[in-house]
């Protein structure tokens, strides 16, 4: 009969997961606020900056705890993969915050862009919000199917971004302000989608040990 053991390391691993999930929730709120503010023409740069900074600090805390757990318990196998992935995933969430801040800054750079067609950004924004939710759920539930679905979702955002850039480049009477601001915001959304996909890769690595060739 096998003896089941409660491990001291589990307390640290649980804290690590919870801290990463706290980051997940804050990063989701940060990106959603930035996208919604763009649609409504609101200036939320200061608020987004504070949240983004909070995410950066939380990422440092996740890294510190990860190092502490490694130093104290010498984790291996799925424990080690979880710790490595929490460090990578927390970096992903902090990047969400940073790109949300970049999005909010676009309004400041170009002031009024209410006359621009927002369809592409709204579509990409909707998809990115969905991807963030999926990446968080994939991590929370260690769900490999949800994690794998992110790659396909990412292709949608890539296409919206590339179509927008191509159209802007060949349109004869392009509004430079709209083209530039749109390109920048879509680029940031496209990067957020990439990071959501990397989070999916990390979940796959935690569960199966399978490494992604992406990045």
């Amino acid at each position: 009969m096998r003896l089941e053991l409660t491990r001291l390391m589990d307390i640290g691993l649980e804290r690590l997961k919870n801290m990463t999930l706290d980051m997940a929730r804050l990063s989701e709120k940060t990106v959603s606020t930035a996208i919604d503010a763009y649609k409504e023409g609101q200036n939320v740069t200061e608020q987004i900056f504070r949240w983004s900074d909070e995410l950066r600090i939380l990422q440092d805390e996740v890294s510190d705890l990860a190092i502490e757990v490694i130093a104290r318990y010498q984790p291996v196998a799925s424990d080690l993969r979880l710790i490595k992935s929490c460090m990578e995933i927390s970096y992903g969430f902090s990047r969400f915050g940073r790109y949300a801040y970049d999005i909010s800054q676009v309004l400041g750079i170009f002031s009024d862009i209410s006359m621009c067609n927002k369809t592409s950004i709204e579509d990409a924004g909707k998809q990115v919000k969905k991807m963030i939710k999926v990446s968080i759920n994939a991590f929370a539930e260690q769900n490999i199917d949800l994690a794998r679905s992110l790659s396909k979702m990412d292709e949608v955002v890539d296409k919206i971004y590339l179509d927008f850039v191509k159209n802007a480049a060949k349109a004869p009477d392009v509004d430079l302000k709209c083209a530039l601001s749109g390109t920048l915001i879509l680029r940031y959304l496209e990067r957020i989608a990439d990071h959501a996909t990397y989070i999916g890769d990390s979940v796959i690595y935690i569960v199966s040990g399978e490494r992604s060739s992406r990045k």
């Binding site: 096998r2 053991l5 491990r7 984790p75 291996v76 196998a77 080690l80």
Partner: protein, 263 residues
């Protein structure tokens, strides 16, 4: 590759030891069950697993020490350089080729450091003082002990620290010029500094020898072994590249053992 019957993918690799369908018993107790694995030349192979899983029995089969236990028996095949070690060869010759170091340092207490090192050679009939001197120095150098004891060779082996005594035992095993070195938890009785020295020594020795080490310390296996085998209840559960086994074991049982989820 990372399965119970381990066969590494590099078919051209040279194996020092090939184990096929090895079974071992202590009277009625079936201690090793159908073990098949190949051990690569000039590598460190670690055997891990909970107490009583058959780790020590496995390495004791590799130099025919298992059969010294009353009512012990073995079936299957173990080939050393392609030669079946159980097929009519004098076990003394096998034990000369396959040396062993034990958990507790066991220098001969009444002998000097010098005599401890050359004891095996003298037993084999070497009397030439020059040859003994050369072998003694070479063995102590290989065991990283020469600089510490070169001026005290007449002192008793027991006068050394635990870590030095263990390195003396390694020197003694090396003096008879074995090809394989078996180590049964060689540092479990030592402090971390002495353990570190033994680990460095093991790494340096693999240039000349094939080393198989039994260890309870999984971090030790992770630090020094090229390949690791996990045994459980006498069965080889998983065997493969150490980095892979500790990062992404193929078997659920290995995962549960190395992460400390059962003991």
């Amino acid at each position: 590759m990372h399965s119970g019957t381990a066969q590494f993918s590099e078919t051209l690799e040279k194996y020092k030891i090939e184990i096929e369908h090895l079974n071992a018993w202590f009277s009625e107790k079936h201690a090793l069950k159908d073990i098949s694995m190949n051990i690569k030349s000039n590598s460190v192979t670690a055997i891990i697993g909970p107490s009583g899983c058959g780790k020590s029995t496995l390495i004791r089969c590799l130099n025919r020490m298992h059969e010294l236990t009353p009512k012990a028996r073995v079936s299957g095949q173990i080939r050393l350089d392609n030669e079946d070690i159980y097929a009519g060869i004098d076990p003394v010759i096998i034990r000369r080729k396959v040396g062993m170091v034990f958990q507790k340092p066991n220098p001969f207490p009444t002998m000097s450091i010098y005599d401890n090192v050359v004891a095996g050679l003298k037993l084999n009939g070497v009397k030439d003082k020059k040859k003994l001197d050369e072998a003694m120095r070479r063995s102590l150098e290989l065991a990283s002990l020469w600089d510490e004891v070169k001026d005290d060779l007449k002192l008793s082996g027991s006068s050394l620290s635990g870590g030095q005594q263990q390195r003396l035992c390694i020197a003694r095993a090396l003096a008879v010029e074995p090809e394989v070195l078996l180590m049964d938890e060689p540092s479990s009785a030592l402090d971390p500094i002495a353990t570190g020295k033994i680990e460095q020594l093991i790494i340096s020795l693999k240039e000349h020898y094939t080393i198989v080490i039994v260890t309870h310390n999984m971090q030790q296996a992770a630090r020094i072994a090229d390949f690791t085998a996990f045994l459980y209840l006498g069965e080889l559960i998983e065997y493969g590249d150490t980095a892979h086994l500790f990062e992404n074991p193929s078997k659920e049982l290995t995962e549960r053992y190395i992460t400390g989820k059962f003991g």
